[in-house]
Every structure is written in C-alpha cells, then in structure tokens.
Symmetry: C2
C-alpha cells in the first residue's frame, strides 16, 4: 500500500487528538501508520513541514464563500467563528497553527477572502492585510487559552488559584475574575470579536472622513 | 549550596533562551544547574508548575504603576507595550505564557491594574475582565507569531511561500501580503492595539449612552 501525503496528515491529526502536540513525534507517527521513518520523511522532511501541512488542513473551509448579501461585518464575524471552530476541532489545534507559515490553498483562500472583503469596503489592501492578521492573532490567542483550560487541574482550578493569589485581590477584582473564568468561552470570544470589529468600523469611518491611510 | 526556587526559575529561563521551549526538559535543567532531579522536583512537582513560575517571572513589571495623569487609553497602550516587550524578552516567551494559569504577584498585579483601570472609566468589573483577557489574547497571539518568525527558514521565506501559493494570489493580494510580511512587527502591533482600543472606546460610549451592560 502506498502511503499518500494526505494519509500522513490524517494520521498526524489522529495522533494529535490522542497525544496532544507535546506527544506528537515522527517516531510515534511512523508506528501509528505502521511504516518506517523513511516513508514519512519522503513526504515531510521535518516535523515543521508536517505541522505546516496539519495547520493547512485545519484551516479547511474557513475561507469558503459567504453570501454576497451578508453585511461585511457579519462576514468578518462568520469567518472568525469558522476559524475558532476549526482550531478547536482538534486537540491543541490552535497551538499547531500558531507559528506556522503556510501558503496552502485553505490558508491562502481564508487570508485572501478576508483581505479582499476589507478592501472591498474601502481599506487599502495593505491595511486590510494588517487588520486580517491582527484579527487572526486575537483568535489564535483566544483558542490557545481555551484549549489550555482542559489541562488545568480541576483540583487546582481558578477558585483555588484566586484564593492563594498574592497580593490578595480586592473582592471586586476576585469576583470579576471568577465570573470571567466561569463564563462560556464562546460568549467571551464573540464579545472580543465585537470589540475588535467596532474598532475596525471606527477606523473605516476615519479613513472615509479624511482619506488618509494609517499604515 | 542550597538550590532556591528562584535559582531554578533563573536557570530555566537561561535554558529556554539556549534551547527554546521544545528543548526545555527537567533533565536538561537538572544538568545545567548541576543538581539531581529530586532537587528540582522539590520546588516544582511538574514541568507545568515550572512553566507557571517562568510565566509569572516573565510578567514582571507589566502591572507597575502608571502616572495617574496619563489618559486611560494611553495607560492601556503602555501596558500592552510592556507585555509585548516582556514576552519577547526570552526565546519562546509568549509560548511559555500561553496556556498557563498563574496567580502569582506579577500576573495578579498586571491583570488587576488593567481591570481596575477599565472599571475606573465606567466598565462594569466583569466586562473589564473580559476586555482585559481579550486584549491579552491579541498580545499573546501577536507575540507567538513574532517569535515564530525566527524559525522561518530564510531560504524559504515569505516571498518563496507566496510564489508557490495555490491558488495563485491576485497581484493585489500578493503585494499586500508581502508588504505586511516586510513591515516592522512593532508597528503592526501598535496598529492592532489601536484598532482594539478604538473598539473599547466605542463600547464605552455605547455603555454611557444606554446604561446597559453588554456582557
């Protein structure tokens, strides 16, 4: 049986779910696929190359077409939601994507769609790229933290950590942090997206008003 | 000589600079500090506990007092800059902090200062905590990507990756992405901070106008 490149990526994503990113090694992947190391290295000369391919796979569908009649801010929101769902779809998915530099079709289509969408409403293309990446960084940071929550020892969770905090937080601060820790991450994500997009909207108004580019 | 907890953290941060996060092991750290594993585990029962202590150290000074006469948006900007500088101060520093849940003094002081600052201008404390964390996620995502740039093979950089991209990007898209890739990350960071804070400002105006809480 010929081991195809896509089979290696499939196997790597399954191993990722089972072992997490720290447990993903070329050796274990070879064992899981029942092949010698050489067969993997033929497709992926390094673990970095494999991670790039995994990241590219994780971005599938993020840049799929959106209804043209959907307001542009809703289109931005929708792409952010898709990206979050995809990054969360595999254990440590956000950490896999963080720090990869991929130019595969899923990644290029997603980035391209966002940049073109922002350009279409009036941002200069370069500024549209800056916005796209800034937004991407927020999604990435959020999902990395979301996925790390599962590693948090339930016997030593937020309550315990806040109780032992030094300096002792004020009651207002402690209750704000605790309420946040208990909130639904999906809701906090939507809130962050809303904040960010409110800033994008304001920037666009500024551009329209004075016709300058801030980049 | 007694090995103090702070010595272990010092040694771990030096090893981090030398080896990167993936190369940081308790075994190597024991060797670098010239102690048996047991001496480390007395201070840190697990690598996670050590990473928490490293993250806490990395946040030193982020929550230091700011001039009271400084406008609140400038105070937010200043804290973001401090956080970025601290995360970049050690190799893979941003990845160390990502996914840790620390209640040490540096972390609590930084989080507390941001939440109190936002509360002082009119955000309900819980919403102030949501904003603080959303902002933190952006800084984290940005710095993780910044630090990953150094791992990008110079012989296979952005130009090469864009040149081989599928689907072939439009000339406008390719040039926007290339311009972004060549831009100073510090400038792109400031731009992202500005966008985000413009959204925070707009949200505050909304709160003041209708007196509701959006969380």
């Amino acid at each position: 049986m010929v081991l195809r490149r896509a089979d290696v990526v499939d196997g790597a994503l399954e191993l990722l779910d089972a072992e997490g990113l720290d447990g993903l090694t070329m050796r274990k992947l070879g064992a899981a696929l029942n092949v010698q190391g050489g067969a993997l290295y033929r497709h992926f000369p390094s673990k970095e190359a494999l991670l790039d391919a995994m990241a590219e796979r994780l971005l599938a569908g993020v840049g799929a077409p959106l209804p043209a009649e959907m307001p542009w801010l809703d289109q931005c929101r929708e792409m952010a939601e898709r990206l979050r769902v995809q990054l969360l779809s595999r254990r440590d998915g956000a950490r896999v994507v963080a720090g990869t530099y991929v130019s595969g079709p899923n990644t290029m289509t997603a980035g391209g769609r966002a940049i073109e969408l922002l350009s279409s409403v009036g941002f200069p293309p370069e500024e549209a790229a800056w916005i796209t990446f800034a937004f991407f960084y927020f999604v990435l940071g959020h999902t990395i933290e979301e996925q790390a929550l599962v590693r948090l020892d339930p016997a030593h969770g937020w309550e315990a950590r806040l109780a032992e905090a030094q300096p002792v937080p004020s009651p207002a601060l402690a209750s704000a942090m605790l309420a946040m820790a208990k909130a639904d991450p999906a809701e906090r994500f939507r809130y962050g997206v809303r904040l960010f997009l409110a800033g994008v909207e304001r920037r666009l108004e500024e551009l329209r008003a004075d016709g300058t580019s801030g980049v």
